[in-house]
């Protein structure tokens, strides 16, 4: 029996790797996606374009604006003379925000009176707006602290000392790149397992396989192993790329990651085989993969937090294997997690793997009858 399964595995590999097109599908899109996601998928704001409408002739406003100019986060794109120029600047997306400083800014401050600064911000992209507001606020805060100390306003009663854990500079890339490990190994595994039976059905070789003395379980195993191997290799490749190319710190336990990845791949294989046993043509297989993959990625916490979703949708994510593996991979990379910390992620994955595999086996046997 192992001999027959092994022969099937070898055959699957040959079929995948001897074909130029499928070789391409296995190698090029993952690398491309890694690069695109690694470089383009970022929420970090840099060079926020802003305009200045300063009516204050005094030095205080200059000091404040100097802080903006000195920050790498901001880039001044315009200085304007009247209020009518604000709207075009924002409307046409020339500037994300405009700082408007009133005529009595310096005088008010010297009189120990809080002086208003108006910040007009383009809310079209609400995320960028939120982040830009935070950045503006930090500049104001540091100016406040400094000014209050210099001009004897008294001491601030309390100050916030913020220290981010696990990701001190709050780089999006540290969050996104480990996520790609989950994303791409899921995509590749589904493509390998989800289409393999359909491809044989289309070529007519599946019947040929069924008239051999192989048992359904053997065929199923022979179809599952290549997915595990290829998905695993691809996962390892991205882990290495994340560490050595994107310089994402890896502080957790390798075996914990390996265990998580194996469980995750098994779950993905189970789902892939389920799609496979239902699809008659490769086209249907592809459609099935697409219909599973898109929600699985969106509802996984890959790009946006699960906690922000409506409660009902949050409950739905418990069925999604990627949800658990994302926690594992990020936990191991950034938080230094080991087996114990990840226990709550392992068992749901194992449960999904087990149930999807047995469902696939049942569907498979049912289909053959």
């Amino acid at each position: 029996m192992p001999g027959r399964i092994w022969a099937l595995v070898i055959k699957e590999f040959l079929a995948l790797l001897r074909d130029k097109k499928s070789r391409f599908v296995l190698i090029v899109p993952p690398v491309l996606q890694l690069l695109v996601f690694g470089y383009a998928a970022t929420f970090d704001l840099r060079h926020i374009p802003y305009g200045v409408y300063n009516q204050d002739p005094g030095f205080a406003s200059q000091e404040l604006l100097g802080r903006f100019r000195g920050s790498a986060t901001f880039r001044q794109v315009a200085t304007i003379e009247n209020a009518g120029q604000i709207a075009p600047l924002i409307d046409n997306e020339k500037a994300l925000l405009v700082l408007r400083i009133g005529p009595s800014f310096t005088r008010d401050l010297l009189l120990h009176r809080p002086a208003p600064v108006q910040v007009i911000i383009d809310g079209r992209n609400s995320n960028s707006a939120t982040l830009a507001l935070n950045d503006v606020n930090s500049v104001f805060l540091s100016f406040d602290t400094h000014w209050a100390a210099e001009h004897r306003w008294g001491k601030t009663p309390a100050q916030l000392v913020i220290r981010p854990w696990f990701n001190p500079n709050l780089l999006s890339r540290w969050f996104i790149v480990p996520g790609i490990v989950a994303l791409l190994s899921l995509v590749v595994t589904l493509l390998v397992t989800g289409l393999s039976v359909a491809r044989e059905r289309e070529q007519g070789t599946f019947d040929q396989l069924l008239v051999t003395p192989m048992r359904p379980v053997e065929i199923l195993l022979g179809k599952a192993l290549p997915g595990l191997i290829i998905g695993g290799l691809e996962g390892i490749f991205i882990v290495l790329a994340a560490i050595f190319w994107f310089r994402v710190p890896f502080i957790g336990s390798v075996p914990a990651l390996a265990a998580g990845m194996t469980l995750f791949l098994l779950a993905a294989i189970g789902i892939g085989l389920m799609i496979s046993s239902l699809a008659v043509t490769q086209q249907q297989g592809l459609l099935g993969i697409f219909l599973f993959l898109v929600p699985a990625i969106i509802l996984s916490g890959f790009a946006t937090p699960i906690a922000n979703m409506p409660p009902l949708v949050q409950d739905l994510t418990y069925l999604n294997p990627m949800r658990y593996f994302l926690v594992i991979v990020r936990g191991v990379f950034l938080e230094g997690d080991g087996f114990r910390a990840l226990g709550p992620q392992y068992w749901p994955l194992a449960l999904i793997a087990l149930s999807s595999m047995s469902a696939a086996a049942r569907l498979f046997r049912h289909r053959m009858r």
Partner: protein, 575 residues
């Protein structure tokens, strides 16, 4: 005489397949006679479809010129396409559209006025007998009806030149006969027809025949001219024992015999010269040459390796009292409300070649799949090699070999890799495995193709490889599902030689086919129609059922048509 409607002058055409350049046509000169039907024949890859497409202006020649109705295809493709009728091999019908809507579309494309369209469509629907099906979707029509509809679409405007690419492939004999009626009618209207075909009997109905081989024109002439050099070289040989297979083998090996094939009344022999020694007990009778003889004569028979005497001659007797190896009793298969197989019973004996015949949709594929354990039966008994197939155990499957319609091989695996995989899948091991692999390569002459991917193999070689894969584990029973469809005549003959040899060595062969002349190779036939067994017995017995005054000696095709029509008429009367 009118100018030639189609003229090829020194036409050459290449295709690049990857890095390689494949020559499809080479320095081809051709002239069609106006108002005639010309048949285009040749083995696979001879360039028939390329020739058709070139004539339709859908491909341009690399060198040379093609003139269609006096216009050059390079310069005036649009004008040509506005005038000719062209029906591609897989006729492009819109399957979601009804018969009428398909006709309407083509009427619009041809720019027919509403009035003209209506008259012509009525005429065509009558001619093709599709009138009652006007509102049926094209996708639900049978293969033959589709071909007729395709033809009707190409004929909305009576074209001076009609190009038909294998219009009768995959069509059952009855529909084929109707299609020919239509084509003959067109000739009477002065249409020049060029059609490619895989059937020899169709070639014989053409005014002229073009024989292509490897992109070159081998011969273009009338049927009579093709036959002429064969006068006095064709014989029918019979023998008392009646074992035609054995007789054929012996004749084929005799010096001076170019080709021997099994026909209804015996073995047909084509000799290299007029004198061949007859063995005692044989009766030789001169016959008029047919186009098939000419085809074999011009293209030669495929070489077969020297067959040693069959391995197990003792088992070679496919007697009526040999052990029953496949037993089917009251077999039924229902799909929902539709009963595809209606309580059939038949037995297959060891060492027989057992043929399963029927029109499209008669239930032969369903029956076949149940026999191999690919489809569960709804009810009935099904025993193969003593094992109940309804429990489709692995142990039963180890005893059968199966070659499917499409020669299902792993396309991007090489010959060797395919063989290696199947040998492992059948659980072969060690020396035995090595021996069988060696046997397969040698016996099926695959040594030149070992590193070639299965996809890249010519169809005939692919068929050999599929057969080799199915025989690796030396199964006592071999299932062949339409193994010769789409394969050119030469490869088909070679294939039958192999099957014969297998049967001689004691392998039971179960086969489906729609080439009715191939039925003659079988020991026992079952004729299916609408899910029922219409007739069964030896080929002679089946033919005898159709004997009447008008057909004192019916061919298998005539018998088939007669039996099915009678059955369908009975069915109609009953309902």
């Amino acid at each position: 005489m009118a100018a030639s409607p189609l003229r090829f002058i020194q036409v050459g055409k290449h295709f690049s397949r990857g890095a390689a350049r494949v020559r499809a046509l080479d320095a081809l000169d051709l002239n069609l006679t106006a108002g005639s039907i010309t048949g285009l024949l040749g083995p696979d890859g001879a360039g028939k479809t390329t020739l058709m497409r070139l004539a339709a202006g859908l491909l341009l020649p690399d060198v040379g010129t093609i003139q269609v109705l006096g216009a050059d295809t390079r310069a005036r493709a649009a004008k040509i396409q506005a005038e000719i009728g062209y029906m591609p091999q897989q006729f492009g019908l819109y399957e979601d559209l009804t018969v009428q809507e398909n006709l309407d579309l083509h009427a619009d494309l041809q720019g027919l006025s509403a009035e003209a369209a209506r008259t012509r469509q009525r005429e065509l629907l009558r001619m093709t007998a599709l009138g009652p099906f006007g509102t049926r979707r094209a996708g639900t029509l049978s293969g033959g009806m589709k071909q007729k509809l395709g033809l009707a679409c190409a004929l909305l405007r009576v074209p001076p030149l009609l190009l038909l690419d294998e219009p009768t492939v995959g069509v059952d004999p009855i529909a084929r006969r109707e299609l020919w009626g239509i084509i003959q009618g067109l000739k009477d209207q002065g249409v020049t027809v060029l059609m490619s075909t895989a059937y020899f009997d169709e070639a014989e109905r053409c005014d002229e025949i073009i024989l292509l081989h490897q992109g070159k024109l081998l011969k273009k002439d009338t049927l009579a001219a093709f036959r002429l050099p064969l006068q006095g070289r064709c014989f029918r040989v019979t023998e008392d024992t009646g074992n035609k297979r054995r007789l054929r083998e012996s004749l084929q090996r005799r010096p001076g015999v170019q080709d021997a094939r099994i026909v209804a009344a015996g073995v047909r022999v084509l000799c290299q010269g007029p004198s061949v020694e007859a063995a005692p007990g044989e009766r030789w009778q001169a016959e008029t040459p047919t186009f098939e003889d000419a085809f074999v004569d011009l293209l030669g028979t495929a070489e077969m390796p020297d067959e040693a005497a069959p391995a197990a001659p003792a088992a070679a007797t496919a007697d009526q009292d040999a052990e029953i190896i496949i037993e089917v009793r009251d077999l039924r298969k229902r799909f929902g409300n539709f009963e595809a197989v209606k309580g059939n019973t038949f037995m297959v004996r060891k060492g027989q070649i057992f043929g399963l015949l029927g029109a499209n949709g008669a239930g032969k594929t369903t029956t076949f799949r149940m026999l191999c354990g690919l489809l569960p039966a709804s009810s009935g008994t099904l025993r193969v090699a003593g094992v109940d197939m309804r429990r489709a155990t692995a142990q039963a499957r180890a005893r059968i070999g199966y070659v499917s319609q499409k020669f299902s091989l792993y396309g991007n695996l090489s010959c060797d890799q395919n063989l290696a995989f199947f040998s492992a899948a059948y659980g072969l091991r060690g020396t035995w495995r090595r021996q069988r692999l060696q046997w397969a390569v040698q016996k099926f002459q695959l040594s030149d193709y070992r590193e070639v991917n299965a996809d890249q193999l010519p169809l005939g070689i692919k068929q050999r490889l599929a057969l080799a894969c199915a025989l690796l584990h030396a199964p006592p029973i071999l299932f062949l599902d339409e193994p010769t469809s789409g394969v050119d005549p030469l490869a088909r003959r070679e294939f039958w030689q192999r099957v014969n040899a297998l049967a001689e060595s004691g392998v039971t062969v179960m086969i489906t086919t729609h080439f009715l002349e191939e039925a003659e190779y079988c020991d026992h036939l079952v004729l299916l129609s609408q899910g029922e067994v219409l007739a069964q017995g030896s080929p002679q017995q089946v033919r005898a059922l159709a004997q009447d005054k008008t057909h004192p000696e019916p061919s298998m095709e005539e018998a088939f048509i007669h039996l099915i029509q009678t059955h369908e008429n009975q069915g109609r009367r009953a309902s």
